[in-house]
Symmetry: C2
Subunit: 679 residues, 2 copies
Amino acid sequence: MSDLLAINTIRLLAVDTVAKANSGHPGAPMGLAPAAHTLFKQMRFNPRNPAWINRDRFVLSNGHACALLYTMLFLYGYDYTIDDLKSFRQLNSKTPGHPEAELPGVEVTTGPLGQGIANAVGLAIAQAQLAATYNKPNYELFSNYTYAFLGDGCLQEGVAQEAISLAGHLGDGLKLIAFWDDNQISIDGDTNVSFTEDVPAKFRAQGWEVLSVKDGNDDLEGIAAALAKAKTTNKPTLIRLPTIIGYGSLQQGTHGVHGSPLKPDDIKQLKKKFGFDPEQNFVVPREVTESYAKHVADNQQVEVEWNKLLTAYTKEYPELGQELHRRLDGKLPENWQKALPTYTVDDKPVASRKLSEIVLTSIEKELPELVGGSADLTGSNLTRWPDAVDFQPKSTGLGDFSGRYFRFGVREHGMGAIINGISAYGANFKAYGGTFLNFVSYASGAVRLSALSGHPIIWVATHDSIGLGEDGPTHQPIETLAHLRALPNLMVWRPADGNETSAAYLRAIESKHTPSIIALTRQNLPQLEHSSIEKAAKGGYTVYPVENPDIILVASGSEVSIAIDGAKKLGTEGVKASVVSIPDFFTFDSQARSYQLSVLPDGVPIMSVEVMSTFGWSKYSHEQFGINRFGISGPGPEIYKFFEFTAEGVADRASKVVQFYKGKELLSPLNKAFESVHA
Amino acid sequence: MSDLLAINTIRLLAVDTVAKANSGHPGAPMGLAPAAHTLFKQMRFNPRNPAWINRDRFVLSNGHACALLYTMLFLYGYDYTIDDLKSFRQLNSKTPGHPEAELPGVEVTTGPLGQGIANAVGLAIAQAQLAATYNKPNYELFSNYTYAFLGDGCLQEGVAQEAISLAGHLGDGLKLIAFWDDNQISIDGDTNVSFTEDVPAKFRAQGWEVLSVKDGNDDLEGIAAALAKAKTTNKPTLIRLPTIIGYGSLQQGTHGVHGSPLKPDDIKQLKKKFGFDPEQNFVVPREVTESYAKHVADNQQVEVEWNKLLTAYTKEYPELGQELHRRLDGKLPENWQKALPTYTVDDKPVASRKLSEIVLTSIEKELPELVGGSADLTGSNLTRWPDAVDFQPKSTGLGDFSGRYFRFGVREHGMGAIINGISAYGANFKAYGGTFLNFVSYASGAVRLSALSGHPIIWVATHDSIGLGEDGPTHQPIETLAHLRALPNLMVWRPADGNETSAAYLRAIESKHTPSIIALTRQNLPQLEHSSIEKAAKGGYTVYPVENPDIILVASGSEVSIAIDGAKKLGTEGVKASVVSIPDFFTFDSQARSYQLSVLPDGVPIMSVEVMSTFGWSKYSHEQFGINRFGISGPGPEIYKFFEFTAEGVADRASKVVQFYKGKELLSPLNKAFESVHA
């Protein structure tokens, strides 16, 4: 089979796919078909087992070009039919408008620009970490490459730039090869309207190898040679690939082919030009199918050999081998959770960021898959256990690639996308990133994709409120919890004490498909009398029970103990107040409605207490005590007083609430007329 | 006076300031004092009139070093006393933990890393735009420079990288000079743990001039020479300034001096070393005061001359001069709002992104201060009026600096920070940026600072829901409105038709201190019978009134007309349903409670209808119909049906709600036991 036949088949399938949908992006697939063909030809993967751990990874960072990816996956015999291509971008199809991680052969969800290349950095880091941890002489279990395609759009995004900079720093040994689709076109037209930097020089300044192909449209040998050369360097490599967007179209080289289907006449002339029947659509010449099938068969043999290698390895290194088997099965070590610390009311007050450090230090030995770091706030986030080894190239003298602690630099968004990539690698990785809660917002794009893609990563988000004090309103979250709680498929833990912190980690580590934010205090918190890991792990429970309460106070994190103090004060004034702790909305929402209503029943006024925006709390309460303005700089305890988050401030408002609702019929806010079918 | 005396005065004031607060960052101020002294010496500004429009701007992008900034402002006679320095980081002081834009002499709020340098790009753009618009031969009204200090942390942030790249592209004529505090230290220790790129080469690759000072601690002549040289180039310039963090401290050059006060003994030896009395604090030698006062007096003369120039200019160019006077007074043209289009129910359905384009096209001629652009989505956001001129260096042949349309590239976060900077310049700039609503999240850090700092910028946020269709869940906002609505001081408009779109722009353009997001549809929306600019400008109103309703449906944007269809259907079934449109929570919340309760009264069940997370809607409703999961790829209308957002889907749920609450006593969700004192 001629390469050109395969390439033109790819081009035309992508064109037909977009035309049938009457929606999508044909230009980039047409320009990138030669590179995709040449790259896939030498990749190791098994379409019958897309989860094979040592497969080469391919990331389409310019996710809008997904007609290309679906075409490749279809041609290579992944679980797609020609009908899947024909239902591109249709409701409930297997070929949505951007690639989604749960689809066969799609490594990570892309489309939001810049994320894919940053995920690719994470995938390459994961490979390097596993290789340094498990590979032994004659047992190169982990040797895969991570490849990425990216366009000019990705290169302009900050998240990409952060990850590219870090990859350059970590470079010595990362098996990462990226193709830059240098087609000079973005949605606003020629890239010269906004993007005129010297991309190769910029990458070189950041420690990358940069190679160039003369002509990405025709020079297959050049593409193959660049790939081969990239593998001889230890650095991450950018291959500059000058292409013509919409190659072959009458509109080639313009943004007219970027985001709209080609016109019927254009498609006809294209098919003629490529030697295809202009009247036929979705044509796959048998030679192409056969040639690709041959590659698949070869690849399956590669996996068979790898499995043999793993068997032999497990004999020679039984402990490591069994650990690896366990990780590949996606199982946690038995009883790992026994390492989680528990506390009683007599234990001393501790900041929850410190409680988090104690958890990490306690569980890291049980969980070799636990890896993480901080965006240059290690000493503040307390994310590093005492004898952690840094993940650094050996050449730096600062660590090695078996290290499990990452120095992400001041790169929150890049960090988020990188830990998504580590998680996407598989092998049960539990990856975490640390920063101040307020700066998780910098990484919103990556957090959203964690939730959408179901990467069970963890954000260690310290300095979680006005309690951080002097740094002031620029650093004090107000809207942050509302933002995160509004995301589907995201746990947002805000533990109130030691047991609740352990519960947060229990759920976060156990999670298979839901990421977690763990919001932690800078300031000390007392250990609560009625907390337990078991109760807190339900997401919400009564932490200060009284019989037949006149009011229920519902709070989270650092405000739980203040609410309890308020309840005690109310008690002395003859008002019976109980307190409910809701460390995580998502987990509480997943409990049976009967349990939820036992915690927040009908007939009792409920007031929320949290030093944040009240936005969203009316879901659980009739009245809200919060802070609907930005914070203020000053010592933390003084700020709490300033905003009246004290026993007195709580009791005062609670009394008003009791008075207001006296004699009024009252439903629990959770008692609803209908259940959302879309929850 | 010797320069060294002034520099050591600055260093010791910063050290004393942090020590007194027992909180803060002494190291960077100590290292940067020589550069600050040398820079300020040649800057033009007037501490008695910090708002003088042609002043040089100084941005401390590494905002944690604010003890330096407050010290400089104090020494230069801005409205700060020594007691203000002594109350650093205390509650309600004038010297909070990070610089805040409302303080005298502080140009922009910094602290969240990377924002300041991006703001500085915006400030320099604003200067260039005004110069190209108003300067005439012999009337160089706008000639100021924008200076920035930034540290390694800023350089690692994506938002900074985006703005730096764009500044390099726009470079030919931007008066922007940045000092890189190359002190090799960040919070995690030596920058070599994560940041080893070749910064000068990277800047050069992006079109910047890069100069180097040999020794930032001592080489004052070198600093001055670099500054002078930077002014001879047309490019934005980075001056590399190697400094020793905590210069003079026993711990100099370590991260020990980054974020904690120096120890008392260390401070004593430092004072001795610098020739100061070790027992005295907050000492300002008279020579220093006098020397700085002299510079201020000279500068005041500069402003006097400038005012004369403006007077003469206004005589020679009366139209431009009066326009400029109006803008400097912060006033809009009289009757500008008459240019806002209005619609009747007979007008045809139009997508609100298109309605937005019609508004921009209608008002741009009235408002020369209206400038904006898109993050490479011009044709999708419809942000460019037909005959707009692009803001581009003339040398590109693509526009000129009098242009009011920006090609931001795929750089949402950078765009957000840049329009903040344009707004911060003054001259009544109304700056907007366009992207998909979902990707406003990429810019969360900048959006938050718009709200905190009170920059009345505007986000034109199109493709605002599942209605965008085929692009799928990666592009369909779910949590986004909840996130933005939870921010204090932010309008989040989601207009339902043409009149509401005009109302959104009315409020956004009139705003002095509150930024706006305007969420707009890709799909067509019908014109509503009862909408008007006046009503919608209240943020919420009854858009489909019925007498004594059995249920109130409350909706926003594209769901308002669906709710009305639902109400009509309910009417045919004997259920009286009215519909309330809430185009903006923030504005509705600012109305009198009596008005709010007239719209959402006691005694009637209220159900919200919005194709987003229901999070937050319980604030206005008893029941919520929304989408608490991620979206789906497919044609927009089919997705609406899939999620049952149709007249039938609304009516069905509304009937259940009416049934559920029949006979139950019901308060309006806005009828509360207490008013939050902190709203």
